[in-house]
């Protein structure tokens, strides 16, 4: 078959990339080989537009066992325990088929974690939808939430934290990012690097079907004489099989049978085999007629490009085949030796004993294209917002607007659809700043949270990048955890657009700066470009997933008020920054201005001081101040508790709207018992920390004299309304 320009284009390859392929092969590729190049050279697998920027991220640290480059990152939490985690996007599939798209997103990220030998212990997700009144939003939200729940609940891993946001920028392109966290013994971590020649390559898991073969369906329409009906490219998740696969893999990992293991994610058999060979600097030979297939007459092309779920590739030590097969038989899963490692440094594909394709591994991996794409510096518009011209409103009114908005509403409609308690180690579930998961059988725990701030990143990418790292850091701190490391999911528009590339580059700069300063390294992540149409790209939406350690678990610090008449203290300075605030957006539909400034030094000092206070048992509750400002944070502390609060008039700042709704960073609200006040003051003063006493808790009402007064019950109902109507 002749490879035409049309076919090349349908494979998502540029003509100069095709020329490059010919050079590397020293000949024309055949159709199968072209398909393999297209899979390995696409943005998703090659990171061709992002790689040079990702390299700049700090990835090392005292706790880091494995940084980016493996299926997931690994950090050390002491006592031979390690935590494995990663986040991944499944945006496009979820827009086409929300239930299955989200479900298979969860399935994929779980495989990345248990591939490394870890038992998954928590799931998180960050989901972004279009405007609440966009026609598609409701069904997409419904589908995505039940898909995430459907998969996680069935496999029996608690979904404990996440974020659900709405903005019209996602009208045509929702975001579904899933994060998985696992626990492994430090001396039992498995990697994907192949070793040794003539070792058996084993296929395990589900059978291969024609799912998700992308460019292929279009391209094949041209050459296929018996022109089959158009094939659906949607993958259907099978959490039941994944559960079996997980148990079988973890069982096999108990001894030393496995040399290397890799899940089949995007680009399935192709990327898994190439990755293993490339890391081990070996060749790999596959006999495709042995691949377990679900459908009849599948071609080598289809087998290599299928994205069927719940499959793994394993390279075994010699002589371990029998015992390994027994385990997979027990779990009723396919186990087939489909090839071997070789010393040729080629990917060799045989079908019926005939070589159908042969490609040097390096052509697919290290020699894949890398682009230093053009980028534009963000043009910052410093237009000041003229508050005088705005319609006057009452504080209470503005607060109600925020608390009843979809973005700030109580999310239990979402989280009640997730099993948050299975595995019986969930110390704190969704609803607080971060979830807390106990390490099974131990008295230590990890705290986890995911965060994003797309509007900050849009208006000033560097600050936005810094801010999300800090917000994530703060969320862990409020639970008493020491933040250890992050994973990140970079959701951006079209990288061929210089403005978008600029957003990408500058957001990363911000992330890098914050991570370095806070000693908060990046150990894994994922990049998702091409979100939106070329004319209308989504807001830059990097999502940060952080993991922190609670060395000795005692009563968890949550954000709900605990006692009557305790003191409420605000740590960090309030300047009253309203640019990009939730206040302006919800009340005046204004998206203008700069995001609040991020002062990393203050972040670090304030956070570390709060940890000290928690460590000394001086804190009843703690909450970070973020979107919606001080008053929103205080309301949240009241809503989830049995107490209200009386807030005192600030002595200095005059404008109460700035005081209450400003989104200045590095701030925490803490509740302490009156008799601990002097101890707390001492510690904060010694640390040079700015703080003020802003009020105290009381029964029933949330109020400020002469300004507003709302009962706790009303606050709850206001906050609960949106999803209840849903």
């Amino acid at each position: 078959m002749k490879i035409t320009n049309k076919i090349i284009e349908n494979h998502g390859l540029k003509l100069d990339e095709y020329e490059n392929i010919k050079k590397l092969l020293k000949r024309e590729p055949n159709f199968l080989e072209l398909g393999i190049f297209s899979a390995m050279w696409n943005e998703h697998c090659s990171y061709k537009s992002s790689r040079i920027h990702l390299k700049k991220l700090p990835t090392k640290g005292k706790h880091v066992i494995q940084g980016p480059g493996e299926n997931a990152g690994v950090i050390d939490i002491g006592d031979n325990d390690a935590i494995v985690f990663k986040i991944e996007s499944h945006n496009h599939p979820s827009y086409i088929e929300p239930y299955q798209g989200a479900a298979t997103g969860v399935g994929g990220i779980l495989r990345d974690v248990f591939t490394m030998g870890a038992r998954p212990i928590a799931l998180l997700n960050s989901i972004h939808f279009g405007s609440p009144d966009h026609v598609k939003t409701k069904s997409l939200l419904n589908g995505v939430v039940s898909g995430i729940g459907g998969y996680g609940n069935c496999i029996g891993i608690p979904t404990v934290a996440g974020e659900t946001k709405f903005d019209e920028t996602y009208n045509e392109n929702i975001l579904v990012n899933a994060m998985a966290v696992g626990h492994v013994k430090k001396d039992k971590i498995f990697y994907s690097k192949a070793k040794g020649i003539n070792k058996p390559v084993v296929y395990v898991g589900s059978k291969t079907g024609r799912d998700g073969i992308h460019g292929a369906s279009m391209a094949s329409a041209e050459f296929d004489e018996n022109s089959e009906e158009k094939k659906p490219t949607v993958q259907v998740g099978d959490p039941f099989t994944e559960k079996l696969l997980m148990e079988a893999c973890l069982e096999l990992m108990k001894d030393n049978s496995i040399i290397s293991i890799q899940d089949m994610g995007a680009a399935g058999l192709t990327s898994s085999s190439v990755e293993m060979a490339s890391k081990g600097e070996l060749g790999i030979e596959l006999e495709l007629d042995k691949v377990p297939c679900r459908e009849e007459n599948m071609t080598p092309y289809e087998m290599m490009l299928s994205e069927s779920q719940e499959r793994m590739l394993i390279i075994l030590e010699d002589g371990k085949e029998k015992a390994a097969k027994k385990i997979f038989d027990k779990w009723d899963l396919d186990f087939v030796i489909i090839g071997k490692t070789t010393n040729t440094n080629n990917l060799t594909l045989k079908f019926n004993n005939i070589v159908q394709g042969e490609i040097p591994i390096e052509a697919l991996a290290s020699k894949a294209p890398i682009y230093n794409r053009k980028w534009l510096k963000k043009n910052i518009k410093k237009n000041e917002i003229n508050f005088k011209s705005l319609k006057k409103i009452k504080i209470e009114e503005a607060l109600i607007k925020i608390l009843s908005s979809p973005n700030h509403s109580n999310k239990s409609w979402v989280t009640n659809q997730y099993d948050q308690n299975v595995m019986c180690d969930t110390v704190q579930k969704s609803g607080s700043d971060a979830a807390i998961i106990r390490i099974h059988n131990k008295d230590k725990a990890i705290a986890v949270s995911v965060d994003s701030s797309a509007n900050y990143c849009k208006s000033h990418p560097i600050t936005g990048g810094k801010q999300i790292v800090c917000e994530n850091w703060r969320n862990l701190i409020t639970t008493g955890a020491t933040p250890l490391a992050i994973t990140n999911c970079l959701n951006f528009g079209n990288p061929e657009n210089e403005e978008i590339m600029g957003e990408f580059k500058e957001c990363l700069e911000g992330i890098k700066e914050a991570c370095e300063f806070l000693n908060y390294p990046v150990v894994s992540g994922n990049v998702s470009f091409y979100n939106g149409t070329n004319k209308k790209n989504i807001y830059p939406t990097p999502v940060i997933g952080g993991v922190g350690l609670i060395k000795k678990l005692s009563k968890p610090i949550s954000h709900n008020f605990k006692k009557n008449e305790s003191d409420i203290i605000l740590i960090g300075k309030t300047f009253g920054h309203l640019g990009q605030s939730c206040f302006l957006k919800e009340n005046y539909s204004i998206n203008e201005g700069m995001p609040p400034e991020v002062n990393l030094l203050n972040e670090k000092n304030n956070g570390e001081s709060l940890l000290k206070l928690i460590d000394k048992n001086l804190i009843l509750s703690a909450h970070d101040v973020s979107s919606g400002g001080l008053i929103t944070a205080l309301s949240e502390m009241a809503i989830s508790s049995e107490y209200g609060a009386k807030i005192l008039k600030p002595k200095k700042l005059t404008n109460l709207f700035e005081y209450f709704f400003g989104e200045d960073q590095a701030r925490y609200i803490i509740e302490i018992e009156k008799h601990n006040m002097s101890k707390v003051e001492n510690i904060l003063k010694n640390g040079n920390i700015y703080f003020e006493k802003i009020g105290y808790t009381q029964q029933d009402h949330f109020e400020m004299d002469g300004e507003f007064k709302i009962s706790r019950k009303d606050l709850f109902e206001i906050n609960d309304k949106w999803y209840n109507k849903f």
Binding site: S146, Q417, N421, V422, C424
Partner: protein, 225 residues
């Protein structure tokens, strides 16, 4: 006391229940569904989860497995059997318990802490609870909407076979305190010999103060005589 927890492919609360049993001094064994014999035990637990993915009907396929024949035999000779969540669904599929568990009324998976009231504290499973005690307990299911025919409902009422009913924190049982649409707010039932208990809520999730509360403890300790 010896207990056996049956593990099906797709069970996922098996470890949780084993931890709870061991915490309460049971000598527990995990029994893989392909085994053909059950070790002698005082209590058999069928744990929660999604056996066989809950495909076809929840509990249906597990209800046809080989080990279930052994469970039926043991149950018929008086052994105590506890089915939690998916385990309850499996017990109804085998016929050991009557009735069935339909989709939740709102057609959504529901996970939250709810209240249930002890309806009969004179059984092997409930003797440590007070009369009409209200417990706070976690539920997590898609199909927990209990349904049975009028005759069976009457029989259960006449013979005190209803174990737990959903209620609010004050013990009030009505539509508002019924999370999933269950007939008569039923959350758990006994067979007529009262040696088999099926319940949708998860007592094994309520044995650890750090994680939740201890409202499930008495269910397990009632069994220890």
């Amino acid at each position: 006391m010896k207990s056996s927890v049956i593990v099906f492919p797709g069970s996922n609360c098996d470890r949780d229940v084993a931890v709870a049993l061991e915490k309460l001094q049971f000598k527990n064994q995990m029994i893989w569904h392909k085994e053909t014999e059950l070790p002698k035990s005082d209590l058999i637990v069928i744990p929660g989860g999604f056996s066989y993915g809950d495909y076809l009907r929840s509990g249906a396929i597990a209800g046809k497995s080989r080990i279930i024949d052994e469970v039926i035999k043991a149950a018929n000779s008086g052994c105590l059997v506890l089915g939690i969540c998916n385990g309850f669904q499996i017990l109804t599929e085998t016929g050991l318990l009557k009735g069935t568990l339909l989709r939740n009324k709102n057609l959504k998976f529901i996970n939250k802490d709810v209240h249930i009231q002890v309806q009969n504290n004179k059984t092997k499973f409930s003797n440590k609870y007070k009369e009409n005690q209200v417990l706070k307990i976690n539920i997590a299911h898609n199909e927990g909407n209990y349904f049975t025919d009028a005759d069976h409902l009457k029989e259960m009422k006449d013979e005190d076979l209803i174990a737990f009913k959903y209620c609010d924190e004050n013990g009030i049982k009505n539509l508002n305190s019924n999370p999933n649409g269950s007939l008569d707010n039923i959350a758990g039932i006994f067979n007529s010999q009262k040696n088999i208990l099926g319940m949708m809520p998860h007592p094994e999730r309520m044995v650890d103060e750090m994680i939740s509360n201890q409202d499930g403890v008495n269910l397990f300790s009632s069994l220890i005589n």
